[in-house]
Symmetry: C2
């Protein structure tokens, strides 16, 4: 968490509600994160959730990087699997991060 880059950069915000079907989900999710990290323009990844609903955000240098990643992930068929098995609903948002600021508690 708390990845830090210098704006402007892009965020792909993926919010979803899961089905009861977890077969293959964790393995595929881990594989997709590892695969994304190898893409040109990849900056980072954060995810939070409780198994029922999840928000995952990947960060990218520019729109071209996102477009290239979308094509890779399509090939991996992960998105189609997601629609069939794992997700009740999801929304993907492409957003330009204009500003960011962070806080870290002082180490005691």
């Amino acid at each position: 968490m708390s990845e830090k880059f210098s704006p402007p950069y892009y965020a792909v915000i993926f919010t979803n509600e899961r089905t009861e079907n977890t077969e293959g989900y964790a393995e595929t999710a881990d594989h997709m994160v590892a695969l994304a990290a190898q893409q040109p323009g990849y900056l980072g990844f954060e995810s939070a959730g409780d198994g029922k609903s999840t928000i995952s955000i990947s960060y990218w240098r520019d729109l071209d990087s996102i477009k290239a990643w979308k094509e890779v992930s399509d090939h991996a068929t992960a998105q189609a699997m997601g629609r069939k098995k794992w997700y009740k609903s999801y929304t993907t948002r492409i957003a330009l991060v204009e500003r960011d600021y962070s806080f870290e508690a002082e180490q005691v």
Copy 2:
């Protein structure tokens, strides 16, 4: 989850790692969400997490709405409380959502 609005609009992405201290956290978080919903330009709110790390995203019509909300929440001192007690670290990102698309499983 899966709030749907028409781009362009703004997302305030708040990612955090929590401390062990939960005193007053849930009440304040609920109050902040209710208060945000009353602000001009508020579009929606989503959050996912497991109690240790959370991603919360509020959606807004424009930057002026976000600025006005920041001033309200400062007054409520919730942000200062957060820095003192509840958060090990956090990052806030202001992002312009340029595109979005959603999927809903067919009802069986």
